[in-house]
């Protein structure tokens, strides 16, 4: 007790610093630290932020988190953190933490209400809409930051309970293009490799991934690899805006937005020209494929809801005139007007021959691609050409191992799915895939984009373990595991997140629940959606720990527990599932999302939801009348009563109730505010996880059981986990038990493993040709971005992140230190462009597009250094709500919004 607070802090800081550097620290300092930390209890956990999935240790005392540290045993980060991770312990203690449900009253102001009042109103509004509009009138905005039990609870409640597929996560804006790329190429989601590829490889190519800021800890590993062998290890950064990732790179290739499509094809053409195709690998393990080009841009097909200024961009959804480059790239004539006929079926594709593939990439010569793709007008064409050539050299070089990393630059792209497939195209052509140090590796943005959004299937078209709602067998398997009557599950794909927003605007969705995300700040073209949310006949519920933009436009706000206030599991980008226990109780009346879902489920009886429903547009085998049949009779036959609640039937089932809480062996003294509040003696997170696990086992997605992930000696496991062993590299016989013995490699994913065949332009035979065990090498052409700078809106705008803030800043901006460090979003611009407009650094400027405008401070000399004609604005700052400016074009296949390309003008405010 003799120690003052200051001394105490000093010694603890010194100790952790010294421990990480490995400096010896004095015995007295160690003793002082131990004294100061007497009564602290440490437990393992996971970082709340990005998809890297760093392990952290959390110390609690007297019901509060008192410290965190990087987990030295976590293989991802080995005790380190980035500056966001450093502040994990502080995100829960913002001054304006919500602790009571808040309801918007008649006067338009929020007032505190009880949970009962809140849930009563929510139920009343839900039942009104559900009765009037059916399962498709309600929706849930889910999240890639849901814990696995949370995502599972909500997906099951929506899909099995309410028979609605209108649940879609913000991961739609983050990883959907990657998913399409994986499924179309491999037939199964998620990367074949893992982070150890970094230590095994000789070459890291980043395509639209500012890893230095957005995957800081992984970038430290990449940098370490570079330092370990500076001569041989090469780093190339392909980007539209010079950034921090270029600082240690050997080469920085600044390209014009959208022309990554052409660069990939140039490299593919080189691989073929230089006879570097790994023929053996390709023949054994791959087929070639392509699809239609006229698939639109994911905008609405009607201009009914567009502002006048938006109409010219929107018109391109139906018809585009090819420019010079697009014409060459697509083997057509400049000026051809192309009707976008395949908007409804963008994902269709067919197998082609290698010769057809060759013909496809033939126009992508160095001259053509260099001229098209040069992104920095100040760089000579020659220099750009040389860099492209050197890039091809690296890929082609025999025995050189290559890892391609990408994130939002490729996913948030009007042709995001194409460009993802192109990444695999290179690696498959070269046979540099699915082995240590070789592979195309899609990084994720969110902590559980993989673990929850994708694996659990909180997307509008998905079921757990890569199954989909429009596949009858998948529905049947799910209905069996979930113990549901036949035909309970709705085969019609629900609304993706952008469509939910659009539907709230056009009146086809009137009740929505936002969980673990902030769509009204994070979705492009936000002015529309904010207005839609406030429409009087829409009812919006927002669950959040803090008052966010989305909460501000809600009708009801539910106070929510944060990460260390509940039990949970996340799955990171390398298929690693990691769990943690509840460390502290949530403040006030805040409750975890699992409890909110379960409590809502208690308010619905089977007879209210399992009757017959009209589903407009439903076309599916077995549902010929366009209706979801009543399954109540079958339910009764299965032993359910129409009076049973969804809570009884879906969650607190007989089996689940056997999973008892308290569970001292696993909990080791930790609490569970959800189990306690439910009070019926079961352990929902564990029961639901283990139930979910049934979907994965022997289904190529095997997870371990809940207790394993909670073990002290486990720091997450990479699925498939077979016989307790994780899988390091999938599809590779050496590492992956799913691969048939003797096959060497096998791309065993089951989805889309039979397609029609055809030539480059069209399918020529409808007969489906099987390709079991093989991956597809797609030819995808260059297509021009639908909105490009013109005389009026003369600059490109890209949005993105900064290292210090997470997404919309709702947590990190409440950490005083991070807020002090980066208090507001700036607009990054080339100094020449600023001069030309009479602007200087630190001026306040307007950034205006066809859709809206915002004010920001101008930065011409900062961390991002755009070439002439480009601007970049981070989206974390709600006072610089750049999504009012951004364009809601999506990849038509993945429905992921393109936050990286639109046209703006910038002028002095």
């Amino acid at each position: 007790m003799g120690q003052t607070r200051r001394e105490f802090l000093k010694t603890s800081v010194a100790a952790s610093a010294a421990a990480t550097v490995g400096l010896p620290i004095s015995q007295t300092a160690q003793a002082a630290t131990r004294d100061a930390e007497a009564g602290w209890q440490w437990d393992k956990s996971v970082c709340r932020f990005c998809g890297t999935g760093c392990g952290i240790m959390v110390a609690t005392k007297d019901g509060k988190i008192v410290a965190t540290k990087g987990d030295p045993d976590a293989p991802v980060n080995r005790g380190l953190n980035c500056i966001k991770g450093y502040f994990n312990g502080k995100i829960m203690y913002g001054k304006d933490r919500l602790t009571q449900p808040l309801m918007r009253m008649k006067d338009g102001k929020f007032q505190p209400v009880s949970w009962d009042q809140a849930l009563d109103e929510m139920e009343k509004q839900f039942k009104k809409t559900y009765k009037e509009m059916g399962p498709h009138g309600v929706a849930v905005f889910g999240s890639g930051q849901y814990t696995i039990p949370e995502g599972y609870t909500m997906a099951k409640l929506m899909k099995a309970g309410f028979r609605s597929n209108n649940i879609d996560p913000n991961a739609r804006h983050c990883m959907a293009s990657a998913v399409v790329g994986f499924i179309q190429t491999f037939g199964i989601d998620e990367p074949s490799g893992n982070y150890d590829d970094i230590e095994h490889t000789d070459t890291v190519v980043t395509w639209g991934a500012n890893m230095a800021e957005c995957h800081p800890i992984l970038w430290a590993r990449v940098s370490d690899r570079k330092l370990g062998d500076e001569e041989n290890v090469k780093l190339v950064n392909l980007t539209t805006c010079s950034n921090q990732t270029s600082d240690i790179a050997d080469s920085e290739i600044v390209f014009k937005p959208g022309t990554d499509l052409a660069i990939f094809n140039y490299v593919a053409r080189e691989i073929i020209k230089r006879d570097a195709v790994n023929k053996d690998f390709v023949e054994k393990h791959c087929v070639f494929a392509t699809g239609p080009y006229d698939i639109g841009y994911g905008m609405r097909g009607t201009s009914e809801y567009a502002y006048d200024a938006e109409k010219d961009t929107q018109a391109k959804e139906l018809k585009v005139t090819l420019d010079k480059y697009e014409a060459i790239a697509q083997r057509k004539k400049e000026g051809d007007v192309i009707e976008q006929k395949n908007r409804a079926k963008p994902v269709k594709h067919w197998q082609i021959s290698f010769d057809e593939f060759k013909r496809g990439v033939e126009p992508y010569t160095l001259d053509f691609v260099a001229e098209l793709s040069r992104g920095d007008a100040d760089e000579s064409l020659e220099s750009h050409k040389e860099k492209l050539k050197a890039l091809a050299d690296l890929y082609v070089e025999k025995n050189r191992k290559v890892v391609s990393f990408w994130t939002m630059g490729m996913n948030q792209h009007y042709r995001g799915s194409w460009v993802n497939e192109q990444a695999y195209m290179l690696h498959l052509l070269l046979g540099k895939q699915a082995e240590p140090g070789n592979g195309a590796f899609s990084l994720t943005g969110q902590p559980s984009a993989c673990g929850t959004a994708r694996e659990v299937g909180t997307f509008a078209h998905r079921l757990p373990a890569d199954m989909v709602v429009f596949n009858g067998k998948h529905r049947a398997r799910s209905e069996k595991i979930w113990n549901l009557p036949d035909k309970t599950l709705n085969p019609k794909v629900g609304s993706h997140i952008t469509k939910i927003l659009r539907s709230m605007e056009d009146g086809s969705i009137k009740w929505a629940w936002v969980q673990v995300n902030n769509p009204f700040q994070a979705s492009a073209n936000a002015n529309h959606w904010i207005a839609a949310a406030r429409k009087s006949d829409n009812f919006l519920v927002v669950s959040d720990p803090y008052p966010t933009v989305s909460a501000k436009v809600a009708d009801l706000i539910l106070p929510t527990a944060m990460i260390y206030e509940k039990w949970g599991l996340y799955g990171n980008a390398e298929r690693r599932t990691q769990g943690w226990r509840q460390q502290v109780n949530p403040p006030g009346e805040a409750m975890g999302d699992v409890w909110q879902g379960l409590e809502f489920a208690k308010r619905f009886k089977l007879k209210e939801v399992w009757g017959e429903h009209n589903v407009p547009g439903l076309k599916s085998e077995g549902f010929e009348d366009g209706k979801l049949p009543s399954v109540l009779d079958d339910a009764v036959a299965m032993g359910y009563s129409p009076e049973d609640t969804l809570y009884d039937v879906l969650f607190a089932t007989k089996d689940n109730k056997k999973v008892a809480w308290p569970d001292p062996a696993v909990a080791k003294g930790h609490g569970n505010h959800i189990a306690d509040k439910l009070g019926d003696g079961w352990f929902p997170e564990k029961a639901l996880f283990d139930e979910y696990r049934q979907f994965t086992v022997n289904f190529q997605h095997d997870l371990a059981d809940f207790d394993t992930y909670m073990r002290d000696d486990v720091r997450g496991l990479k699925w498939p986990v077979i016989d307790g062993k994780e899988t390091e590299w999938r599809f590779n016989e050496k590492y992956d038990p799913y691969v048939t013995k003797g096959a060497g490699f096998e791309f065993y994913g089951k989805a889309l493993k039979a397609t029609p065949t055809g030539d480059l332009d069209k399918p020529t035979s409808k007969e489906k040709k099987k390709l079991a065990g093989k991956a597809k090498i797609f030819f995808r052409p260059y297509a021009a971005p639908p909105e490009q700078p013109d005389d009026n809106y003369d600059l490109w705008l890209s949005t993105g992140r900064v290292l210090e803030h997470w997404h919309t800043g709702t947590m990190t901006r409440r950490v005083p230190e991070l807020h002090r460090a980066v208090p507001g979003a700036q607009v990054f611009m080339n100094p020449n462009d600023a001069d030309k407009r009479g602007l200087k650094r630190n001026d306040v400027v307007w950034i205006e597009s066809r859709r809206g405008k915002v004010k920001a401070v101008l930065e011409t000399d900062g961390r991002n250094r755009p070439a002439k004609g480009y601007t970049f604005v981070p989206f974390f700052d709600e006072s610089v709500m750049i999504n009012k400016v951004a364009l809601d074009v999506t990849c038509p296949m993945s429905k992921e919004e393109d936050f990286k390309k639109c046209a703006v003008k910038v002028y002095k405010a």
Partner: protein, 252 residues
């Protein structure tokens, strides 16, 4: 009163007066010295002359304070640690945001802020110094906020990549370069540690100096002189022999 006594009284009074004035003057000048040295290491506005000249020239009018658009500058109130009435700033509170038009210097009527400062990057308000024991980046954490926020990024603060002994994560260590650091203090403000691990101080407090007699071998290219001009040896009177004391005294 006689003339004599009045004369004596006059002398006495004069002497008293002089003594009083001298005492007063001494006390006063002591106070001035104390004041002028009050905070020789205060962080001054851009263009401020060295502390002695600045203290002399500053008229304490506060026009620089008024013209600072960020409320960075303040006048030291009486009783502050900084010389009374002079402008200074505390970077951790509000740093200098390095206005391109340098309004504070323009506002200065006396030239205490040097009007010849035309490019803000040339100003030297102080020098950022990193406490590498408490800097997160120096421990391996991915912070480097100082580098990313530095307005003279990649010149005043650069990041070097070093291997880290205990894991396969490179360290991204920030380094400050005195030839480009303006001492604006944006880094100090932004530093996320509880007490800033990068601070702006007056360079003389921390900067050393390599001896004039030595040049670092790799810093400038110095070819061997081709046309050497030897100096003529001049015959000098022999000076008294040196070293005798040592040679002749003491035992071995």
């Amino acid at each position: 009163m006689t003339a004599k006594s009045s004369r004596r009284e006059f002398l006495t009074r004069s002497a008293q007066g002089i003594a009083l004035a001298a005492t007063g003057g001494l006390v006063w000048s002591y106070l001035l010295q104390q004041q002028a040295q009050a905070a020789p290491h205060a962080i001054r506005p851009p263009g401020a002359h060295d502390e002695v000249d600045f203290n002399a020239k500053c008229i304490k009018c506060g026009q620089c304070v008024r013209d600072c658009p960020y409320d960075t500058l303040k006048l030291a109130p009486a009783g502050d640690s900084v010389a009374i009435g002079t402008p200074y700033f505390i970077p951790r509170e509000i740093p200098c945001y390095m206005c391109i038009d340098i309004p504070c210097v323009k506002a200065c009527p006396t030239g205490a802020l040097d009007p010849s400062l035309e490019v803000i990057e040339d100003s030297r308000m102080g020098l950022a110094v990193i406490d590498i024991e408490n800097c997160l980046s120096w421990q391996g954490l991915r912070c480097e906020i100082c580098h990313r926020e530095c307005p003279v990024q990649n010149k005043a603060i650069t990041v070097e990549h070093h291997p880290r002994k205990i894991s396969k994560h490179a360290m991204f260590v920030p380094l400050v370069h005195s030839d480009a650091c303006t001492g604006c203090g944006v880094c100090e403000k932004a530093c996320p540690t509880e007490v800033a691990a990068i601070r702006v101080v007056q360079p003389e407090l921390v900067q050393g100096k390599i001896g004039e007699h030595y040049r670092l071998g790799w810093t400038i290219d110095t070819p061997i002189t081709q046309d050497f001009k030897p100096q003529q040896r001049v015959d000098e009177q022999p000076a008294p022999a040196t070293g005798l004391d040592y040679l002749n005294q003491g035992d071995l």
